[in-house]
């Protein structure tokens, strides 16, 4: 089917833009069901403690308190996507400050808050495990019975040791990366009630209504068809709402009290009890030949998953998969460990384990280029993967591979070609400018894990379409993009597409909105549904006109015969179908192609990868260590841009989040206590920190994607930190090995180099 594109590729405004701008869009935190109870969660005061006794009697008799729940109220008190290691409410122990111990339901928020202070918990504090390296030692106190090594694996292809012996140069460094907090505008929030059919309904921010429903039902031991989960507009997620937050607690309150409830985390609760990006230590030893060909890379990855695994095992896989960058390297060796500590909980965060290791490998590449006196883009191009190549895991790259093209665009960009001129344009002698480059790679789709999604399409009697997806609108604009895709597939106006989203009662399971692949997955399932729907409509048109079905084509809401003489409106077709009891709806399905996982991994390799290159221009104040990013050029391999406006927004947003990751964002955890609990202490970039950002897509098309599109949600953040770090090296001659690169860290780095050089 030749697909004319009338809507795909157009910068049409987001359908939710106006209602969000004027405050009409309803987020979960905007909902106040009548007669609601206010939920509040009592959280652990200790990073690691045995719970000896919980006494709620005083709190329960406090005026306004309706109910208090503890672990005794949870039939199956463990959940988790991979390993069920997380309690709904702590029973034996608490494993981080903020671990939930009890849920209060009260008539007023004040009563709920006061009741928290009246619950008596007798703790026996245990030694806290706070350093992942310490945690790995066998004699270290155990966070979980099974020990502190949540997951450990070793993967080797070729022979790195031999390659090291034969190499011309070897670069070896240890990198450390800090903990990043999602810091969405809307904290974790939801409401719950019984609907008119007696169905327990949870309306809460999330990324997967079906998975949330599964976790609710499996822990509370209730049948899945008795529960409905709805995910309205979500005020930001970035992976942070991929795990359970308020959902089970809400379900519990309403199930037991038979009353509606509302539970909205405060900002402090969100930073404490929300998940985070894994802090980590990455040791890397990389070998190259004099001509720049990479020979070997040996990597040791240690990620701190905190008190519970969450999606940590998969995050570790993504780190393993991408730690060699988008390069051909014949000999690789990876040891990877996921460690339990009492440092909060790490799980999914935009990039999902890749930003950390790409910071390492892209710094390594830069160091190699420097030693070889070679242009850093030239070095990258010499080793870049191309379509059809065999990757480091002996995996054939069948999808589109746009990294070489992205790097070529970077090499020809004015900022790179004229970098000496840019660098010379500094206002003051102590301000130095530098320009850095970095590549990025990450798989989209769930890789070797089964990954399947469904989309429903229904023809309405007005001749419009209702598209049903369980995709969640987390601010990324997926609904608008899907409407554009649907309009082009169903040959109608984009306004004729109505989207029903993220509701286990109303929409089929389109799987979780994550891994940069919701458009890819839903778009492909939609293509299947559209094919089925148009086929049906073609037969109806034939029946109505007496002409054979194959003469009909579709355009702008009409079935039109080849000779143009017969035109039947979609509304006419719909009326006919309705009158003749022909079902007006179809369901399309798409299963993502995958390969067997390589031994020692869960979900890698992927068949489909996203790529990007980035350039950064920075100014470093050599007297204070302050870094200002002046310009970013981000070149993502997009396959095909469905909506240039949302595309630009995604890439710019990711870039700014990347600046935060590189320079300022760090959850400070001291003795298990989070010191950065709100936005006055945990800093995210403001508009004043956002430089000029130029976004240049590579659009080579990915045949398996809808209209050639690939995923773009995560890739934008990945090259930013290494590009900035490399630019800093270029500016002041010192290589930052630890992010965030705070002024103080850089100040001492610059000083230590000066004293090495004997000056000052």
């Amino acid at each position: 089917m030749v697909q004319a594109q009338r809507w795909v590729g157009k910068p049409i405004p987001r359908r939710d833009a106006l209602e969000k701008a004027i405050g009409q869009a309803k987020y979960a935190s905007d909902l106040f069901p009548e007669g609601l109870l206010w939920g509040k969660v009592l959280r652990s005061k200790y990073p690691h403690a045995r719970i000896k006794r919980i006494d709620v009697s005083k709190a329960r008799s406090h005026p306004g308190v309706v109910a208090i729940f503890t672990h005794e109220d949870i039939p199956n008190n463990r959940y988790g996507p991979f390993n069920k290691d997380r309690p709904v409410l702590c029973d034996d122990k608490t494993r981080y400050i903020g671990d939930p111990i009890a849920v209060v339901a009260a008539e007023t928020p004040e009563a709920a808050e006061e009741a928290l202070g009246m619950i008596e918990v007798e703790y026996e504090p245990l030694p806290a495990v706070l350093d992942p390296l310490e945690a790995m030692k066998p004699e270290s106190p155990k966070v979980h019975e099974r020990g502190n090594i949540a997951r450990q694996t070793h993967i080797s292809f070729g022979n790195v040791e031999q390659a090291f012996r034969e190499a011309d140069i070897i670069v070896e460094n240890t990198y450390t990366v800090g903990t990043q907090i999602h810091a969405y505008l809307e904290t974790e929030a939801g409401i719950s009630y019984f609907d008119e059919n007696g169905r327990l309904t949870i309306v809460a921010g999330g990324q997967s209504p079906y998975r949330d429903r599964h976790e609710i039902c499996s822990t509370l031991n209730i049948p899945e068809d008795s529960v409905r989960v709805v995910i309205p507009h979500v005020g930001g997620a970035f992976g942070g709402k991929d795990d359970i937050s308020v959902q089970i607690h809400l379900a519990l309150i309403t199930l037991k009290t038979r009353r509606p409830a509302r539970l909205v985390w405060t900002r402090e609760e969100s930073t404490i009890a929300g998940t985070k990006r894994h802090a980590g230590i990455i040791r890397m030893k990389t070998a190259a030949r004099r001509d720049g060909v990479l020979l070997a890379n040996k990597t040791e990855i240690i990620y701190d998953t905190g008190a519970y695994e969450g999606l940590g095992p998969a995050v570790l896989d993504v780190a393993i998969e991408n730690c060699n960058g988008p390069y051909k390297i014949p000999n690789i060796d990876i040891s990877a460990t996921l460690v339990y500590t009492n440092n909060y909980v790490a799980s999914a965060f935009r990039g999902f384990g890749a930003p950390q290791v790409l910071f390492a490998i892209e710094s390594q590449l830069d160091a190699i280029a420097e030693q070889l006196n070679m242009d850093p883009i030239e070095l990258r191009l010499r080793n870049a993967l191309r379509r059809g190549d065999v990757g480091v895991f002996n995996n054939k790259l069948i999808g589109s591979v746009g990294i070489a093209k992205a790097l070529e665009i970077a090499a020809n960009h004015e900022l790179w070609r004229e970098r000496e001129r840019y660098k010379s344009e500094t206002a003051r002698p102590w301000i130095r400018r530098g320009i850095g480059v970095a590549s990025a790679v990450k798989g989209y789709t769930l890789g070797a894990l089964p990954d399947k999604g469904q989309v429903g399409v229904e023809l309405t009697r007005e001749g419009k379409f209702r598209v049903r997806v369980s995709s969640t609108e987390i601010g990324q604009g997926v609904l608008t993009a899907l409407a554009q895709v649907a309009a082009d597939m169903l040959k109608c106006g984009v306004d004729d597409i109505q989207l029903v989203f993220a509701d286990t009662l109303e929409t089929p399971d389109t799987s979780v909105t994550s891994a940069s692949r919701q458009l890819f997955l839903a778009g492909n399932a939609l293509a299947d549904a559209a094919r089925k729907m148009l086929d049906k409509m073609r037969h109806v048109a034939a029946g109505l006109s007496g002409e054979p079905p194959e003469v009909f084509d579709f355009l702008d809401g009409y079935a039109i015969s080849r000779d143009g003489k017969t035109r039947i409106s979609y509304a006419g077709i719909a009326r006919y179908m309705e009158n003749n009891n022909i079902p007006l709806n179809v369901v399309g399905e798409y299963e993502v192609p995958r390969v067997e996982p390589i031994p020692g991994t869960l979900e890698i390799p992927h068949l489909f990868y996203m790529f990007a290159a980035a350039l950064a221009l920075v100014e470093v104040n050599t007297l204070t260590g302050f870094v200002q990013v002046r310009k970013l050029v981000v070149i993502p391999d997009a396959g095909k841009v469905i909506n240039p406006q949302t595309f630009q927004g995604q890439i710019e947003g990711a870039a700014v989040q990347g600046i935060g990751y590189a320079l300022m964002e760090e959850a400070k955890i001291e003795n298990g206590i989070l010191k950065t609990q709100n936005f006055s202490t945990y800093l995210i970039p403001s508009i004043k920190d956002a430089p000029e950002i130029e976004v240049i897509p590579v659009e080579d098309g990915e045949e398996t994607g809808p209209f050639g599109a690939k995923g773009i949600g995560e890739i934008g953040i990945i090259p930013i930190a290494p590009a900035i770090a490399n630019a800093i090296k270029d500016a002041v001659g010192v290589r930052p090995l630890s992010i965030p690169i705070t002024p103080e860290k850089l100040y001492w780095l610059i000083r230590s180099k000066r004293s090495e050089n004997g000056s000052q």
């Binding site: 007297l623 302050f626 010191k675 970039p685 403001s686 705070t742 002024p743």
Partner: protein, 291 residues
């Protein structure tokens, strides 16, 4: 978190406010812009049983030129000072400092009196008022008194105020001809409290030597500090690069910074005192010379 519940009063005069304060001694807090007090109440670091709102009192929000002094009412908002023509003309360092406080919302509500009473070592006003040798007018049950800036900042979050006293006015001696000032603030990000800040105010004699120098330090000690040794290094001398370096070195010695997990180690901040003082004095000098 929610603040603990409290009883609210909105007196119409300074006198009424003081008698309320006097009566409810110890359990009451006055609220001006609320930009420090409300966050403290939400964190339950402050749990006053009574709040006395100053915002209904007329005549506490003004900026005027008196004889040899600029008078600023305690309830004057940061943003009013930032935009005031009089301030920009006579004491531009104050407009510059105001522009660095928090964000526009904070500046629109926060007051200079509230900021000084809060006595946060990382607050920006303290260093500026010290550098300008300002005075703080205070009203209590027994009338008014004046506290010199030098004697006002007792300790972190501890001003030289009695619980039943109110700040009513800030007085700044009008800098003479040949003066210039600069407030430099190093922040992790626009809108954050200072890692370190330096206020420098100088006056140059017709003979080219430095007649007056005021150096105030922000976030470099338990309170806002006056860098006296740095001032001494400047006064009476011609401000060459060497002399300014000497003063910068002295300011680093005057500083009493401490380690802060968020905003940097003591050592780093001491180094920043040096860098910022050097630059602030140079800027003040060039402004004093009409640059």
């Amino acid at each position: 978190m929610y603040p603990k519940s409290f009883q609210y009063f909105a007196p119409k005069s300074v006198k009424d406010a003081i008698s309320l304060l006097n009566k409810l001694r110890g359990e009451a807090k006055v609220i001006a812009g609320g930009q420090s007090l409300v966050p403290m109440m939400k964190l339950r670091l402050a749990t006053p049983a009574y709040l006395i709102d100053l915002n209904k009192i007329k005549g506490l929000e003004y900026i005027k030129a008196g004889r040899g002094v600029i008078q600023i009412g305690a309830l004057t908002r940061h943003s009013t000072i930032e935009k005031s023509e009089l301030i920009r003309e006579r004491v531009p360092i104050m407009a510059e400092a105001a522009s660095h406080i928090g964000d526009p919302q904070v500046r629109n509500l926060g007051t200079i009196g509230g900021a000084l009473a809060h006595c946060d070592p990382a607050g920006d006003w303290g260093a500026v008022i010290l550098a300008l040798r300002g005075e703080i007018r205070v009203a209590g049950p027994r009338g008014q008194r004046t506290i010199k800036a030098d004697n006002f900042f007792v300790d972190a979050f501890t001003p030289a105020l009695k619980p039943n006293e109110l700040i009513t006015e800030i007085r700044i001696p009008t800098p003479p001809e040949g003066s210039g000032g600069a407030y430099l603030k190093m922040e992790r990000r626009a809108g954050d409290f200072a890692i370190a800040g330096v206020a420098a105010q100088i006056t140059i004699s017709p003979d080219g030597t430095c007649k007056y120098a005021g150096i105030g330090l922000t976030a470099l000690g338990p309170t806002s500090l006056r860098a006296k040794k740095a001032e001494e290094a400047l006064v009476g001398r011609e401000l060459t690069d060497e002399v300014i370096d000497e003063a910068a070195e002295a300011a680093a010695e005057d500083a009493k910074p401490f380690d802060d997990p968020l905003r940097g180690s003591a050592e780093f901040r001491r180094a920043m005192a040096r860098v910022l003082t050097r630059r602030a004095v140079k800027q003040a000098l060039s402004r004093a010379r009409g640059g």
